[in-house]
């Protein structure tokens, strides 16, 4: 990789600084430094210039475009480099998706890059798993060992005997390609702990997973989502801008999140009862005929059946389930219907909540359908054309491979290329329908993010070889057999990534290294290339990254110059009315209120409410996160200052019933595990609910800021699954909370 000062973006970056300025109308800056001396008392002038001279004498700062990797959003950044070190990361003002911002995590990427606990060399486990005895290997030794293990497993258990978790990185596509050419169908990643239920629900209603046009919306109901803390660009920013323009925001959440704190109305809904609210909402809209009848005629499939189906779900009934008064449900239904079509039920992102999460999200999707907001301003949008193509590669056929992925048929709505980690883990432990003995993970930390950590540990006992490539020694790496050091996003060249920022943009970006890779870190393309040579399919990785990018941008060659000049290429493709003249990708070719495929497969074709389990003396545990941590990426010297451990949130009245006090240590116990952490009494909690933030109580001592600090959600959450999608269901755990003894 090229050293920073030779970076091709240097010149462009320098120009950008000037443009940042004019965009904000903040000109003339302080060329004034020199002028400062004029017309001031001599002594003061001396002091002032001396001060400024300090900055002027320092080494020059160069600027380089890049794209953030502190979460999945990929916000545009400008890295400032001085003396070969990244000294600051600023937003790329031309980056429309993130509206020219960088959040706390993006700013703290400097600490991520220079983390003293970074992995530096390949490491081979010497003692028992998790014991922490490692032997340094050269890359040659490490790759030889990995190739040998993969070959051994493939020969004995077929190629599907290796599971791959390629992560959500810009280089994940290389590991997916590697897995497919190697011959394993068993690919699963973070998404199966995250958004699959929502995706499934919208695919089965609209034929697509939508983007929320928050900016132009006039009325938004947010349920099962916390976009002001779980930042999604541009939605998070657009919410506040929409509010300025008069958009009303109603939040349903058992917890007073920051989204709730800034909403117009917040209802502390009972956890797991969102569907009751939306069934009643659509009851009002259909009973009172508050929908656009012409639109319904043209676009909706099964409206009559649906209207009949929800007749039973009155606001009065729903109030008894969800705790929101019937008159409020009625009022909100009338208000949002009046604001339609520039109104929406926010689709959200993480929907790994309940065993019927797909159906819960279906009830929200159907409410959107009745607002006739699909493909329209202020509603929910279809995917836009970006023009980045996925380079073709041959997938070989292996005769001895099983017929399908290990979790095939275990959930009726499994999304084939994502699978279900929860179901795969169960299958591996059982050894059925066939054994899996190897695991290759890249920047995925199931040990800390997947419910029921003890089961993940049990799964490891069935695996002969676990290799993990990551930047730091995550809990998953700590329990691996071979650990490979990855460069951070600031140290590598990445392929093109296509992004859509709601109605703001459809864009393409790539990353060029801002500084050279430190230590012995090697990127995933290099690792796959080297392994492919050892495993006998070098022709699948016989390209350079430049050639790969060229192939990705074949249909939009103008993107090359744009990305070099501005850090981003925009495709001025159609935003609204993409489906104006074409049928939807559903079976009915319309929006399916009634899903025929579900009916055919014996599933409820329309959402049927099932009351959540309750147990006397037990609380429902919900999990979530803050705006300054992504999942288990908590070991950051700067960000940890905002929150150095998690606590258990509980309503003071609930605590009083067990005479628990604020700040004391409590034990939180489920059927699968028990954790100890401090109690935080907070009135902004629904009384049957307790809350814990993710990312603490790490097992890896090489994450010293979170090792044994606070408690891990993975330890205490039971591993339920969404029945339809197989997505992990993380809000199905009932826990008891007791004072810590001794």
């Amino acid at each position: 990789m090229k050293p920073a000062n030779d970076s091709p973006t240097r010149e462009h970056g320098m120009k950008t600084e000037g443009k940042t300025l004019s965009r904000r109308g903040f000109l003339q800056a302080s060329a004034a430094v020199a002028a400062t001396a004029a017309g001031v008392p001599a002594l003061r002038g001396y002091v002032s210039t001396a001060h400024a001279a300090g900055a002027a004498q320092q080494a020059p700062i160069t600027s380089h475009y890049t794209v953030c990797d502190m979460c999945f959003n990929r916000c545009g950044m400008i890295a400032r480099v001085q003396n070969g070190r990244v000294v600051k990361l600023d937003p790329n003002p031309k980056f429309l998706k993130s509206r020219g911002m960088i959040c706390a995590r993006g700013n703290a990427a400097v600490e991520h890059l220079y983390d003293p606990n970074r992995l530096k060399t390949p490491l081979l486990r010497k003692g028992a798993r998790g014991e922490g005895k490692w032997q340094q290997l050269t890359w040659e030794q490490a790759l030889d060992h990995a190739a040998e293990q993969f070959t051994r497993i493939a020969e004995k258990y077929t190629r599907c005997g290796v599971m791959f978790s390629p992560g959500s990185d810009m280089q994940s596509q290389f590991l997916i390609r590697f897995a497919e050419v190697f011959g394993s169908y068993n690919v699963t990643s973070h998404e199966t702990l995250c958004l699959l239920s929502k995706n499934r629900a919208y695919l089965d209603t609209f034929g697509e997973t939508p983007f929320a046009d928050v900016l132009y919306s006039k009325y938004i109901i947010i349920a099962g989502s916390n976009p002001l803390e779980a930042i999604i660009t541009p939605d998070t920013i657009d919410l506040m801008e929409a509010r300025k323009n008069g958009c009303k925001i109603v939040v349903l959440d058992p917890r007073y999140t920051k989204t709730a704190a800034l909403a117009d109305e917040w209802f502390a809904i009972r956890p797991g009862t969102d569907m009751a609210f939306f069934l009643a909402l659509t009851n009002v809209i259909t009973e009172e005929q508050l929908y656009d009848t012409a639109y319904a005629e043209k676009m909706l499939f099964g409206l009559q059946e649906y209207a009949a189906h929800v007749r039973q779900y009155t606001p009065e009934w729903a109030a008894g389930e969800c705790g929101i008064p019937a008159e409020d449900i009625r009022r909100i239904a009338r208000e949002i219907a009046a604001a339609a079509p520039a109104a929406m039920i926010y689709p959200g992102r993480r929907s790994s909540d309940y065993e019927d999460s797909t159906q819960i999200r279906r009830s929200m999707a159907i409410a959107n359908a009745l607002l006739s907001n699909w493909d329209r301003p202020g509603g929910i949008l279809a995917a836009r054309e970006v023009g980045v193509r996925a380079p073709y590669f041959d997938v070989p056929w292996y005769d001895d491979n099983p017929a399908d992925r290990i979790d095939h048929g275990m959930a009726p709505g499994l999304i084939h290329h994502e699978g279900s980690f929860k179901l795969m883990r169960d299958a591996i432990i059982k050894g059925e329908p066939y054994p899996i003995r190897g695991w290759f993970t890249f920047k995925t930390n199931f040990m800390q993010t997947a419910a029921n950590r003890n089961k993940t540990l049990e799964m490891l006992k069935h695996l002969d070889f676990v290799v993990n490539a990551d930047i730091v020694m995550s809990d998953t790496a700590w329990y691996s057999d071979l650990v490979l050091p990855s460069p951070s996003f600031l140290e590598r060249n990445d392929p093109v990534s296509a992004l859509q920022g709601s109605s703001a943009c459809a864009c393409a970006v790539w990353r060029d290294a801002v500084v050279p890779a430190m230590h012995e870190c090697r990127d995933m393309l290099w690792i796959c290339t080297e392994l492919s040579k050892r495993l006998g399919f070098p022709e699948s990785f016989n390209f350079t990254l430049d050639e790969y990018r060229k192939s990705q941008l074949e249909s939009i060659p103008e993107a090359f110059e744009a990305i070099k000049a501005d850090g981003v290429y925009y495709n001025p493709s159609k935003v609204y009315g993409i489906y104006f003249d074409s049928p939807l990708k559903t079976q009915a070719k319309k929006i399916e209120l009634f899903n025929q495929r579900y009916a055919h497969e014996g599933l409820d074709p329309m959402p049927v409410y099932k009351a959540p389990r309750r147990k006397e003396g037990a609380f429902r545990l919900v999990v979530g996160r803050t705006a300054f941590f992504t999942h288990s990426n908590t070991n950051n010297a700067l960000l940890i200052e905002f929150m150095d451990k998690n606590t258990l949130w509980m309503h003071p009245r609930s605590a009083a019933r067990q005479s628990l006090k604020d700040g004391e240590m409590v034990e939180v116990e489920s059927t699968v595990g028990k954790v100890t952490l401090a109690l935080r009494l907070f009135e902004g909690m629904e009384e049957e609910t307790v809350y814990m933030a993710t990312g603490f109580g790490a097992l890896s001592p090489r994450l010293p800021l979170v090792y044994n600090r606070g408690a891990s959600i993975a330890e205490v959450l039971e591993d339920h699954a969404d029945f339809i999608s197989g997505n992990m269901a993380m809000h199905e755990t009932l826990v008891t909370v007791t004072r810590r003894v001794g």
Binding site: A29, V40, A50, A55, E229, F628, L639, E641
Partner: protein, 251 residues
């Protein structure tokens, strides 16, 4: 001549901490300390569905009547007439800590290694303004709650906002008008966190009378300075321990 100021729409602040993180990286602010902050109101849950929290970003207000400057015996803390920024000249600072107490906003802290006060200077000393960049907190802010500009330039974003919108300022308790250059659009809360200005007794009279330039010249020989110096060396760092305990986000 410029008059830099910040006009803040605190109603769009989402308390994401980006401004705090950005400032910390840009200015190498040590662990446990911050040059800027986000305060918040205490939600009143008796309001039911209408319960709200107001988040309020802040930092040094670069006051036109800077009590820190008046409290400084050596002239190290001064208001730059060229741009209105209140600077600390570390070479002249004797480390007495008076300026820290004199700031009703708690905008200053004693740097744990350098033993001199540290505070926001709108990113002047980091060189951002000279390079044509906005202060780090302003540049990074997702909702652009923080708006920065020159009030002497009628076309600056800050001037325009100030002209178009009613604004309020957060004032010290106890009657001293610090004339802060941080404006909040429409209204802001909380305001009960602001302290009284605390001047060191022996210096109150002198500080208000003597021209700061003169103070630099005579300051180091003044007996009072020596006393303050000694006091600083032997007394515990009260403000430091307070600062630690008020670190944000206890959970």
């Amino acid at each position: 001549m410029k008059k830099y100021a910040m006009v803040i729409d605190s109603s769009v602040c989402i308390d994401c901490k980006a401004c705090m993180a950005s400032c910390k990286v840009q200015n190498n602010v040590p662990h446990g300390y911050w040059r800027n902050w986000i305060k918040h109101t205490i939600p009143d849950f008796s309001q039911g569905p209408l319960t709200r929290t107001h988040f309020q970003p802040g930092g040094c207000m670069q006051c036109d009547n800077p009590t820190c400057v008046q409290a400084c015996p050596s002239g190290a803390t001064y208001k730059d007439p060229q741009n209105g920024i209140v600077h600390v000249n570390e070479a002249l600072c004797i480390g007495c800590g008076n300026c820290i107490k004199a700031c009703p906003y708690g905008a200053r802290f004693r740097h744990p290694d350098k033993r001199v006060p540290d505070k926001c200077d709108f990113c002047f000393s980091s060189g951002r303004l000279e390079r044509g960049l906005l202060p780090a907190c302003v540049d990074t802010c997702p909702t652009k709650a923080r708006v920065f500009g020159d009030l002497n330039d009628p076309d600056s974003d800050a001037s325009r906002l100030l002209r178009d919108k009613p604004t309020v300022r957060v004032l010290a308790r106890g009657g001293i008008d610090t004339k802060p250059n941080m404006y909040y659009v429409a209204a802001t809360a909380p305001t009960d966190w602001v302290d009284e200005v605390e001047f060191p007794g022996a210096f109150t009279a002198l500080a208000s009378l003597v021209n700061p330039v003169v103070k630099v010249a005579v300051g180091l020989s003044a007996l009072g300075v020596a006393v303050m110096w000694a006091k600083q060396i032997f007394s515990p760092d009260k403000e430091e321990s307070e600062h630690e305990s008020s670190a944000p986000g206890k959970d």
